[in-house]
Amino acid sequence: MSKSLPSPTELSAARLQRRRNAERRFKLYGQMAIGIAIGFLALLLISIGTKATSAFSRHMVDLTLERPDLATETELSVTEVNLAVRDRLLEIFPDASSARAARADLFGITTRLAVLPLRDRLNRNPNLATRPIRARLALSDDLDLYLKNQLSQHEQVYVGEAGRLAQTDIGRYRLSDAGPDGFFDFQDRIEAMGETRQDILISLSDAWFEFEDVSGAVLVLKHLAGPLPDFGEQSNAPISATLLNSVEAGRNASNRQIAMMLYLQKRDQIDRRFNTSLFTNADSTYPELAGTAAALFGSLFTMLITAIFALPVGILAAVYLEEFAKNTVLTRVIEVNINNLAAVPSIIFGLLGAAVFLNTFGLPRSVPLVGGLVLGLLVLPTIIIASRAALRSVPPSVRDAALGLGASPTQAVFHHVLPLAAPGILTGAIIAMARALGETAPLLLIGMVAFVSEVPASPNDEATVLPVLIYKWFSGAERAWEPMTSAVILILLVVLVAMNLLAVLVRRRFERRW
């Protein structure tokens, strides 16, 4: 009895509070939904952008071929130039010539085909081959990735002063200390690391060693690269250790290759520069030599064919449906058909292309001509729908005035309505072309995934396009393909954004309110 029922005022206040809370919650859900969508977009762009940046630059090794001795009567082959490059590398690292593994490491610094630009230069100008010539070669993809990602995680440690260096076995050395301090600090540090210790490189003046063991006053080392200091004399040079953050078995670059790169880098023979070949080279099986030129031209030719086919046909079809078609069954069938065609999955158009263009008409595979036609059919409904909307937005008074002054319906449409609708049509056309440019699936079915190592010269040559190149590079096994793929995505997105901006500009500049 003591607790009285809540009064009606209290009840309604509580209910109001509940309803207001519900209102706030609902609004919050809406904001969260938009936030999630935009957040995903941002995440996508940022993740691709950060991955792509590293592909826009790459490391080149800079060699001067002193006596190339390449002057021959016939054209130089890749192998001949490659031999000269290898000779030069052996001059820099003479110790590598004795052991097979060391030679493999040394020659793995660049891939065989990296000399292609140099060979072409020499073949174009044979006089060069008799003088010292500067060769900039792309570093192999694994080493390039290592320098880009891991170099900043190396840690430098001071070990001590160098005493005497003595050889114990082929390639094995003992380095004693010079002073009373010994290598005790370093030894403590090594012992503290215990099982988690990763590979360590030791440098003494220009020589690079792999660290094997330390005991008080003596370091046990394995020579990797660079000229050795004199044996038996106390040099008092500082010894420094480079702590790598990985072990040799866990990566593609060997310790010797890392030492060679550090050696070359100290002599300014490795530098990081803008990756021009990304835009000038065609596709390659080696990531460090692959470029987008063939795909760029392939996309260009494909878009050309698409535009030549789909724009006139689409616009004229829209003119027919909007201005001339009588309301017959046939017209309605065409309209329903176009609306449905716009929602057919793109891969079905690929099947159509494979069955009709390739199989029935016998057109060649992998060519922009067929790709352009397939994409043209694909975007035709989009162009028709956009053009119809643009034509519909031109007020009837324009037609009536033209007809009233004696123009025929054809004249009214082609002299007055169509020019007034042109900005709207153009906007729709640009957006449709942007869609065609990003389309991948139908092109896979008509064979545009072929490996194309030459820039196509006409729509009838084998080619690939940018989105398909993304798919192909994505499927590549080497890790270096991932930043390369991101870079192509970035290029494609930039082109698409430019096209969409153009569409917006056209709309802003020419839009008329009636």
Partner: protein, 473 residues
């Protein structure tokens, strides 16, 4: 001479003389009629303006010739191929059709590129030469007929030009007919799709190693790469599962964004947020695929492994594959958000304002008004939007190709890799020319099912939208 002609890239060479002939006929027609009128006022007495006479003559000349060229383009290649095949030595013809067609493909390619360097294979080089001669002959023949037809058209068209000739009416009728042809290409596309899918599907089921229709539609074992088992149920299951996962993402986010943008957002926020949302629709699907495979799929696997490692779950609860249904579904859902949101936005905006005003006047809060008045009124339209989005998800290819894997499994585990209809179509048809094995042709049967299902969804959705639009107009 014929051989040289056979080597040339013909397409561009045909268009130039055609255009030249058209221009010539246009100016010739205009001057002819101009010559009939010798004074400044005469043109007023012409039935049609001189330009129309020009157009008439240009049409008379160029259209029949263009028709000849079109017929040539459609039939020449296949005719030349069959002519070449009929002349090939019998030992080559005894090989499989695929090998013969590959041989002819390469011959045709060489002839088109005119690679002067002989390959060393005597039969091949002779075939290239012979092929070029056959094609050159066909081209010469086509050119001859085209020139003849064009000249005849020019001659008889020119004869009809006179002061009283109704050139304008003829020209305009021709233009209208051309416009109709353009509109009919859309129909032709559909006919082409349906016919090619139907024919190849029938062929698939009638092949000796092809399955029966029921085995295809209801079999649960898919192993097409080896050409053994064609039970497509795992593919249908995978497709539906990924589409469902995508819908779990796209429908709530898309619908709530649409509601917020149309009912709550300030015009300024709406003016930039809506285009940004629509950017999601403009990103190529291959980019989404890359995003799904490189960023989302590893996250999904880590999450699945974490769940497996929890103390109260069995260690093998989830498959935790590097490519997974969930990764593909999530990203596909993000891709579809703008479809759901922009279509729902349209239908929500189409709900008449008096309904809203009435609800608010009765004391409803905004969210009550939306939930109890606007959404029920817009429901058919929203369902249509969702149907369109589902059909989009079913037909999506690149995301599943890159992030969903290829194993034909029936499993409810979202962290397992799974395959879809579109994935199989791509993997069966990539890099294969011969259409004679059950393996390749099965892609068309899958395409047929895909086309049928998406078409059904689209038709229902478009119907609903249309009816709904009428209801409020």
């Amino acid at each position: 001479m014929l051989e040289t002609l056979g080597h040339l890239p013909i397409g561009w060479l045909l268009i130039a003389p055609l255009a030249a002939a058209g221009f010539f006929a246009f100016y010739s027609g205009r001057t002819q009629i101009g010559a009939l009128s010798t004074g400044s006022t005469i043109s007023a007495r012409l039935n049609s303006q001189p330009n129309f006479h020009g157009y008439y003559l240009a049409f008379c000349t160029a259209l029949p010739a263009a028709l000849i060229f079109l017929i040539y383009l459609i039939f020449a290649e296949s005719y030349a191929r069959s002519a070449l095949i009929s002349e090939l030595p019998t030992y080559l013809l005894e090989r499989s059709d695929a090998q013969v067609s590959f041989f002819v493909d390469r011959v045709s390619e060489h002839a088109a590129h005119r690679e002067s360097a002989a390959t060393g294979n005597a039969l091949f080089d002779a075939s290239v030469e012979r092929f070029a001669v056959i094609k050159g002959g066909l081209r010469f023949f086509a050119l001859l007929i085209a020139v003849g037809v064009g000249a005849l058209g020019y001659h008889f068209g020119g004869k009809r030009l006179s002061r009283s000739f109704q050139a304008r009416s003829y020209v305009e009728r021709t233009i209208t007919a051309l416009l109709f042809v353009c509109a009919a290409i859309a129909i032709l596309t559909t006919v082409g799709i349906v016919l090619s899918l139907v024919f190849e599907t029938i062929r698939f089921f009638s092949l000796p190693d092809g399955p029966s229709v029921t085995a295809f539609l209801f079999g649960t074992d898919w192993n097409a790469q080896t050409g053994q088992n064609f039970g497509a149920v795992p593919l249908f299951f995978g497709t539906l599962m990924i589409a469902l996962l995508a819908m779990f993402v796209a429908v709530p986010i898309g619908l709530l964004s649409a509601i917020y943008l149309s009912e709550y957002a300030s015009p300024r926020f709406r003016s930039w947020a809506k285009p940004v949302l629509e950017l999601l629709a403009g990103i190529p699907t291959v980019v989404y695929g890359f995003f799904a495979a490189t960023l989302i799929a590893p996250l999904v696997r880590d999450l699945a492994q974490w769940i497996n490692a929890l103390p109260f779950t069995p260690d093998t609860l989830l498959a935790a594959q590097p490519t997974s249904a969930l990764a593909a579904g999530l990203v596909m859902g993000v891709m579809i958000i703008p479809f759901v949101s922009s279509l729902s936005d349209d239908v929500i905006n189409a709900v008449p304002q008096p309904l809203r005003d009435g609800a608010l006047a009765m004391g409803a809060t905004r969210s009550e008004m939306i939930k109890q008045v606007v959404l029920p009124a817009a429901l058919p339209g929203i369902i249509a939007a969702i149907l369109l989005a589902v059909s989009r998800a079913i037909g999506e290819t690149m995301i599943v190709v890159m992030a969903a894997g290829g194993r034909a499994l029936i499993t409810l585990d979202p962290s397992s890799d799974i395959t879809t209809v579109t994935y199989q179509i791509v993997s069966l048809l990539t890099g294969d020319t011969a259409f004679d094995s059950a393996r390749t042709v099965s892609a068309f049967a899958l395409g047929f099912v895909l086309f049928g299902v998406t078409l059904l969804f689209n038709i229902i959705a478009l119907r609903v939208v249309d009816r709904y639009r009428e209801a409020y107009e």
